[in-house]
């Protein structure tokens, strides 16, 4: 049984609590990323954020994306970051002056952006319906092949390999080019 069982009344208290806990962790870690004076701490905080993100994906019934997130981001990107930090001789431990001279310009921008986005979201979704397409069982509407209840992964594979095949192949080329490019850029000549 795929699908997520929700409470019929649309409010799942446990889901919300879980979401709230993970969200707080993520926010704290994100703030740490942008304010800490220790580069390695920033990197590890980023990893924490990414992990929290994966947990949120699972809560949002996107288990394939969650797993991909963990594998790619935490597995590869974070390693890249750590290598980058190491290779650019970042100082281990606290270092001062990680903020540039105009860091204060970021605050109003960020605040404005958050205010704007928040306001839009709240304005549009104040009726609280998250699940527009949920039937009485609380099961998400049909995806992909009609008449058949699929799992998310199946739906994704159906989508990627048929409808979105061309972007998929494009993305492979992009990945190939990026890899080659990175090698070319970073080799020591």
């Amino acid at each position: 049984m795929t699908g997520i069982l929700f409470a019929a009344d649309g409010v799942n208290v446990a889901q919300n609590i879980g979401f709230g806990v993970i969200a707080v962790v993520m926010i704290v870690a994100a703030l740490n990323v942008v304010t800490t004076k220790n580069v390695v701490h920033a990197a590890l905080s980023l990893a924490l954020v990414l992990a929290g993100m994966a947990a949120q994906y699972i809560l949002a019934a996107a288990e394939f994306v969650a797993v991909s997130q963990v594998m790619v981001y935490i597995g590869a990107v974070m390693v890249l970051f750590l290598f980058g930090i190491m290779l650019t001789r970042a100082q281990i431990g606290r270092e001062t002056g990680l903020n540039n001279s105009t860091w204060y310009a970021g605050i109003p921008v960020a605040v404005i952006l958050f205010g704007l986005l928040g306001w839009v979201v709240l304005n549009v979704y104040d009726d609280g319906s998250l699940f527009a397409n949920v039937n009485d069982d609380g099961i998400i509407g049909e995806l992909g092949v009609e008449g058949q209840q699929e799992t998310v992964t199946q739906a994704i594979s159906d989508g990627v390999l048929s409808t979105y095949l061309v972007p998929f192949f494009g993305m492979t080329f992009v990945l190939l080019a990026a890899a080659i490019g990175a090698i070319v850029l970073a080799r020591k000549d």
């Binding site: 979401f19 703030l31 394939f64 290779l87 540039n100 970021g106 509407g141």
Partner: protein, 99 residues
Amino acid sequence: MLAANFLLLAALLFSIGVYGVIARRNAVMVLMSIELILNSVNLNFIAFALMQGSIEGHIFALFVIAIAAAEVGVGLAMVLLIYRNRKSILLDELSELKG
């Protein structure tokens, strides 16, 4: 409220990422902030997919993950190169414009 929660969280992460892009001096830190931004966007996609019951959100999120990975790879390669040439990856010092 669950949908707004995801979106609000994503907006917050986005703002934090924007702040990080603007405020951080180290190039690698900037790239990390960009990762935050990308992830917030991903969360948005997933949330919208959940709300609408369609799978496009997930697919797009996958693409974003892949592209983000490629971008970080290339970006860090460039940062490495810059480091090799200029011995510093602090964006203030890298700037040669007088303005």
